[in-house]
């Protein structure tokens, strides 16, 4: 795998995301890379979650999902079908998703470092101005948007 000083390569972020996705959500509905995504996450209603890494490498990993994706992945992770799900379940599932992606990104970067617990919000992600985007993987799942981005301090 390729690693730069500032952050992981897009190909690595994509590979990690696809691996997490297929392990827990199956391959029935594939996660397809999207090349024409606008800079603002393209969903009216979204869930987002982030973890930070501090140490040998410092940065943050963020997952953004449309509400439909967040609900569907929560159902799949909990192995429930049509039962109603609580916001707490969605927050738990989305948080665990970013935890897995973030933990694997951390493993690629120089260490030792520490990973924070996930912070989850109903809404799009906002990023601090002292951070710059170093990798962004945009995808669609069942026609709905998914984004994983990595931010690091400005050089």
């Amino acid at each position: 795998m390729t690693v730069t000083q500032t952050g992981p390569a897009l190909a690595d972020v994509q590979a990690i995301t696809e691996q997490v996705w297929s392990s827990f959500l199956g391959d029935e509905e594939p996660l397809l890379q999207r090349f024409d995504a606008p800079s603002a996450f393209p969903a009216e209603q979204a869930w987002s979650a982030a973890v930070s890494v501090h140490g040998g490498w410092t940065g943050s990993i963020t997952v953004e999902l449309s509400v439909a994706v967040a609900q569907a992945l929560t159902h799949l992770m909990l192995a429930t079908d049509d039962e109603p799900i609580e916001d707490a379940d969605i927050a738990d599932a989305v948080g665990e998703l970013v935890n897995m992606v973030g933990g694997n990104v951390k493993s690629l970067m120089p260490g030792p470092s520490a990973l924070t617990l996930p912070v989850v919000a109903a809404g799009r992600a906002a990023h601090a101005t002292d951070l710059t985007e170093v990798a962004r993987f945009d995808a669609v799942w069942g026609g709905e948007p998914v984004r994983v981005s990595v931010h690091a301090p400005r050089a």
Binding site: Q19, D89, G111, P112
Partner: protein, 120 residues
């Protein structure tokens, strides 16, 4: 029938671990759950499980501190991590503190079978 303690602060992940245990052939065992390292420590003492599968990053007390506290008290319950972090550094820390293995998330039932074989 053996008793397996699954510690993770995520209810979703505990369910996935329990489901994966079933898929790996451990359906007949008694499975109990803990929400963090402190809860894991308390339940290990109270319930005397035969195996602990624990997350690393958890509120209250993390998994490595729980393992260290167990070993410091003389408790030798077999302990394995199931965590999103699989770096060499984390694996070395896990092993030196007394963990038998570290399963990195995402995982498959085959990974569980491989690491749990012969333990129960």
């Amino acid at each position: 029938m053996s008793k397996i303690l699954v510690a993770d602060d995520s209810k979703v992940m505990r369910q996935i671990v329990v489901r994966t245990l079933r898929q790996a052939g451990y359906a007949g065992h008694d499975i109990i759950e803990a929400e963090n390292g402190r809860d894991c420590l308390d339940k290990t003492i109270a319930e005397a499980p035969d195996l602990i599968l624990s997350d690393w990053n958890m509120p209250e007390m993390n998994g490595i501190d729980c393992l260290a506290a167990l070993r410091a008290s003389g408790n030798q319950t077999p302990f394995g991590f199931v965590t999103s972090e699989g770096s060499d550094d984390m694996r070395a820390r896990a092993a030196s503190t007394g963990a038998l293995f570290l399963i990195a998330k995402p995982f498959t039932a085959e990974t569980f079978e491989e690491h749990l074989r012969g333990l129960l």
